[in-house]
Amino acid sequence: MKILVCAKQVPNTKNVTTDPVTGRINREGVESILNPDDANGLEAALAIKDANPGSTVTVISMGPDQAKEMLIECMAMGADDCILLSDRKFGGSDTWATSNAIAAGIKKIGDFDLLIGGRQAIDGDTAQVGPQIAEKLGIPQVTYAQDIKIDGKKVTVQRQLEDGYETIEVQMPCMITCVKELNEPRYMNIGRIYDAYDHPERITVWGFDDVDIREDETGLKPSPTNVFTSFAPAPKGAGKMLEGTEQEMVDQLFAEFKEKHII
């Protein structure tokens, strides 16, 4: 089985801070990581490969050169090879333009059985790129996968809902996006880390001219959405710290509630 995995390098937003005046992200010192949901996607692919000997797992990413670090991590987990789409002409893409570029990369790779991605990336938080790649490729999608079963060309997916799940059947080739409840991503294997560094040729870099895409399909200008402005969220005006013993504080609280007709 030929499995493709979409993975993105993202800043670890848990440690991100913003400048309250300019609203810019303080990028210095923020580590870049493999997007968490994508690690679940890669794990799903590797588990299918383990169960179906002879399968291959190829990771495809779009991003600047430094995304290679993340791809090495993917190979150290067990991916066979990687494609990095990197070109200044891709930069500034919104999800529409990003999905065009990644779909062009996938078309160049050729036939595949399964395309797996994360539900969403923790920087943009859009969850749009997966479905938009599927649409561009003209294949069906199942998002929010929390369980995947393979039977020949038939895939049965539990799709997470807010209050439960639905079970969905779909035929390959298809796109599946994964949530963290799907699995526990495996650790990198030390031997494979060395191996990945020793075989840089397993990461193929494609630029704009290497894939079948037009200038009006990717990058900043053709992107339908624009970031109009960005700013740090305003902290709500500080309230009142109540004082005294615990009982006194509770009494004050209810005095305030009454005065303001809250209860």
């Binding site: 999800t95 938080d125 639905e166 059947e169 402005t229 969220p233 209810f254």
Partner: protein, 363 residues
């Protein structure tokens, strides 16, 4: 299809504010009522009509309900093939409806269905999509006022002018560390998914009049490439955090799963619903369906009691719009106190029983 010409003269071909009236098994999702509330404001500012798109099979009186909640027109696609949500079935309906009626704006709830459907539709009709919005403006003055109230950041007048006829869609990104306003100036329709629980619900008025229009949809079995085998509810009841007027939320400070017994007692006493921070959910003390925050539910109750919650930015993102926030925490420098209207530094196991007692006497 969605691209506007360079000179933008064809902009006026696109008219009306549409909301997707998401229903599951014949029950209208409450986010649809929030979208109608927000959509009405936008439609009034633009001077256009508010329409709802309803997709499914045998949906009873939902179309009437949508009119009562403010829709001037309800477009209905009713067919056996649309009984359950499928990406392909609904995308095809959307595409045909957009082609036929050319709406200027389309809002969908950022639910597990909305976030599956909207990107596919946007891509199909070649337009942009802004994810998970928490604030929308059409009117430029209202937008500048909104910005001025929450940030010292300024936007150039020229930029505002250029976007006078574009929807300004504001959303959190980078895990809630950053807010961004997105516009979609070169394509129509302008599409956004809207975070559930954030916008004010429309008020119901059964005397409202509206038109129900049946869509003539071309759809065959072969168009739908996924099969829904079953739909399973695991949460005992949908924990209706979004509708709750009072929420009592517990965090890591509870110390153990047992702490949620006190929280339940608290909720029962004040007529509220139990919420939780991610830390408490990850510790396995309570089900994920109770989680409030960026990756859980966004809430806006009249009173939010945060008990033993430190106030990580991802939690704050989901509750800071509550009318009144009361924080109880041992640690006086916990970030939760920065958003709290009333802060109580103390042991929640002492304070909560006192609040329960005082509530009984006062309410």
């Amino acid at each position: 299809m969605g691209r506007l010409k360079e000179d933008r003269s064809d902009r006026s071909d696109w008219k009306g504010v549409w909301v997707f009236a998401e229903q599951r098994q014949g029950v209208l999702n409450s986010v649809a009522i929030e979208l109608l509330g927000e959509g009405k404001k936008l439609a009034d500012d633009i001077g256009t009509e508010l329409c709802a798109l309803l997709i499914g099979e045998n949906m009873g009186d939902i179309a009437k309900d949508l009119i009562a909640y403010g829709a001037d027109k309800v477009y209905v696609a009713d067919a056996p093939l649309l009984k359950n949500y499928t990406t392909d079935g609904y995308t095809n309906v959307f595409e045909q409806a957009i082609e036929a009626y050319k709406p200027e704006i389309i809002l969908l709830g950022a639910t597990h269905i909305g976030r599956d459907l909207a990107p596919r539709v946007a891509k199909r009709v070649t337009t942009g999509l802004t994810a998970d919005c928490t604030h929308l403006d059409y009117d430029s003055t209202k937008y500048t006022d909104f910005l001025a109230a929450i940030t010292p950041a300024k936007v150039a007048d020229k930029k505002i002018e250029d976007n006078a006829y574009n929807l300004k869609m504001t959303r959190p990104a980078f895990g809630g560390n950053l807010m961004a306003t997105i516009t979609c100036g070169s394509c129509r329709p302008q599409m956004a998914t809207v975070r559930p629980g954030v916008m004010d619900k429309a008020t119901r008025d059964d005397s409202r009049k509206g038109e129900v229009i049946s869509l003539d949809i071309k759809l065959s079995e072969a168009d739908i490439r996924t099969k829904v085998l079953e739909i399973v509810k695991t949460a005992k009841d949908m924990v209706s955090l979004t509708d709750a007027e009072i929420i009592v939320s517990g965090g890591a400070g509870l110390g153990s799963a047992d702490g949620f017994k006190l929280m339940q007692e608290f909720a029962d006493a004040v007529g509220g619903v139990v919420g939780a921070s991610r830390a408490a959910v990850d510790a396995g003390w309570i089900d994920h369906s109770h989680q409030v925050g960026q990756t859980g539910t966004t809430v806006k109750p009249k009173i939010y009691f945060a008990c033993g919650i430190s106030g990580a930015i991802q939690h704050l993102a989901g509750m800071q719009n509550s009318d009144i926030i009361v924080a109880i925490n041992k640690n006086e420098i916990a970030p939760i106190f920065e958003v709290a209207d009333y802060g109580i530094v103390g042991d929640l196991y002492k304070v909560v029983p006192m609040i329960i007692e005082a509530w009984g006497k006062n309410a």
